[in-house]
Symmetry: C2
Subunit: 131 residues, 2 copies
Amino acid sequence: MPIATDPLSRIFFALADPTRRAMLERLAAGPQTVGELAAPFAVSRPAISQHLGVLEEAGLIERTRQGQWRSCALRPEGLDDAEAWVAEHRAAWQSRFDRLDEALAGLTGGADGTRRTTRGGAADRPDASEA
Amino acid sequence: MPIATDPLSRIFFALADPTRRAMLERLAAGPQTVGELAAPFAVSRPAISQHLGVLEEAGLIERTRQGQWRSCALRPEGLDDAEAWVAEHRAAWQSRFDRLDEALAGLTGGADGTRRTTRGGAADRPDASEA
DNA sequence: GCACCATGTAAGCAGTTGCTTACGCAGAGG
DNA sequence: CCTCTGCGTAAGCAACTGCTTACATGGTGC
């Protein structure tokens, strides 16, 4: 992941870490200071700061000064792009396989409802001729 | 991201790369060989192989031998965990802010529909007392 | 002004990624 | 048997991550 990638990559990258996801889940209960947020994790404060930087650059949280403390709050719309991508593609893939299942059921006359049973044998010379 | 993390992290990590997402999108049109899959990308075949390895370890695709060729196909259920996590948390965050908006609207009597306008001033000493 | 608190930043290190080129291995076909 | 094709693996390199330990910055309170 090059340093500056597209927004979607930044979001997925931010989510691809258990610590960062746990921080997001804790923030779901309400805004917290960095210290409160760091408490349950067995890493140093700078590490937390860096994780927060990743989350902030991904647009998933925002940090605001509050006097001596720094409040971290979720930015719910930050997940919009990720959810849109995942939902869209999962639906598309699913419908594709559903259609394939129908086609297979129609061809073989079988009532097999299981998905992806013998798909590998669709062609002895893969030419994408099945789409 | 340590080498072996949890499934969710692997999925998000696999999605956190434009090339890998593009490969998934191309595969949505139907199974393809590695060569076909590599064609539109300006990287070498080994690089494609490695990307496919990441996608396969994340459970997003599966590779099957087909004689001389190797067919790559989507594994739609591979996105299930990711979609569940994103949808669940986005919904939770959103509802949280909706409730907060209601509370703010009720307190100030304003009909302001905009979200997160002056949240930073909720407390001069952040104690998570607003939830 | 000065100590003290909560955080961010800088520097440095081990481990990982992502790309490359070179090579190995299996199947197709003469 | 030999060659060609398709693809994976190995080795090597630049860049990045994630963590650490100092240190700097800015607000609180005496």
